[in-house]
Symmetry: C2
Subunit: 217 residues, 2 copies
């Protein structure tokens, strides 16, 4: 369980990858090209446990994969990785189907009666999709205390053993209050939190926050 593939080399992928290296994991960042400059920089600056390659190479490398691509490009990126490389793997899907085509604030390209998490699971039936972490910015993902407290993290997916493994990583990141909502259809509610996240961010001018479910013990 110590080899992780990251799909996507943007700020989110780099932040997740760096945090995983600090936790002792071996991390391969995947992108369209193994010559991707950001991914090469990640490899060159992070020692022997860091590497990079194509989407397919990162998917083959990791037992657990993080989907850090833009939501609207995720299915395409996973197709580039290929069903063979993805077979049997756990995919932590932290992306959101944000549609910025009409400016800020974004809408969702899918919601309500479907979700990106479900679309990925439906397209890649041999992948174990676990939706989580998509409801905070990437620095809070790997360090919830950056919110100034102990927010709640939701998790959902069809495979209970996969969720157990993902919960281990969430705990390593510092998430203490995690709620398992159930199967992957719960990605709807988690992704539909994004409009409120964006509007809270625009209103408070602060992206370092999380949502806590305040409830009777």
């Amino acid at each position: 369980m110590k080899r992780i593939g990251i799909l996507g080399t943007g700020t989110v992928g780099k932040t997740i990858g760096t945090a995983l290296l600090k936790l002792g994991y071996e991390v391969k960042m995947g992108s369209r090209s193994s010559e991707n400059a950001l991914a090469k920089e990640f490899t060159e600056t992070n020692g022997s446990k860091a590497s990079n390659g194509t989407f397919a190479e990162a998917a083959e490398f990791g037992e657990i994969l993080f989907n850090c691509t833009l939501g609207m490009a995720s299915i395409q990126a996973l197709n580039l990785a290929g069903k063979d490389a993805l077979k049997g793997k756990i995919l932590i899907d932290l992306s959101n189907p944000l549609d910025f085509s009409k400016g800020m604030p974004p809408s969702l390209s899918v919601c309500n009666t479907d979700s990106l998490g479900e679309q990925i699971q439906k397209e890649f039936t041999d992948l174990q999709v676990v939706k989580t972490l998509n409801i905070v910015n990437c620095e809070v993902m790997v360090n919830p205390a950056k919110s100034g407290g102990e927010p709640t993290m939701f998790i959902c997916g069809n495979a209970a053993p996969a969720k157990e493994k993902v919960l281990e990583i969430l705990h390593q990141f510092g998430w203490k209050d995690c709620i398992d909502l159930g199967d992957i259809s719960n990605a709807r509610g988690m992704e539909m939190l994004l409009p409120l996240w964006v509007r809270t961010y625009l209103s408070t001018k602060n992206g370092y926050f999380g949502f806590k479910v305040i409830r009777q013990a």
Copy 2:
């Protein structure tokens, strides 16, 4: 500011109305018929400050109105009240466009690029719509401590003075942490929290909760 009209005589309307009476407001519950049994019971059991009537009579009575009708019936109920009776009034819209036609969990009948709050504001231009309270169950609405802590309440609407008056009532209910998101288009994010509310409720078997925005002070 001491006369309030409640549109809708279900559990939500009754809970809101009873809480407002305790705070010293005069409350008229409105329904399709002034002979509505639940509304008459409200009048008979709550002393001289409680009364009931038609939607139009409740709307005329109150300076502030609460929309406690089912979301999918709200526009129809407001049309029954009539634009004359609604003119210049503040409407606290705590409803949600929940569509149970396909069973549990419900979907939303409008979301993403529109919202029920916006639809009401667009249809009733002389009404000052303030969206709030829709993100918790009605007992938590009037007593946030029932969640076991201090959750956050969001508020949005186009008219700042109307929001100030609504915030006074929120504070009287016990809401200490309120975030004004801006104009009524922010109802989208607030209503889109409902799928996560429902799924959290189904997962935890506990409806007495609220969401707190954990953030740096």
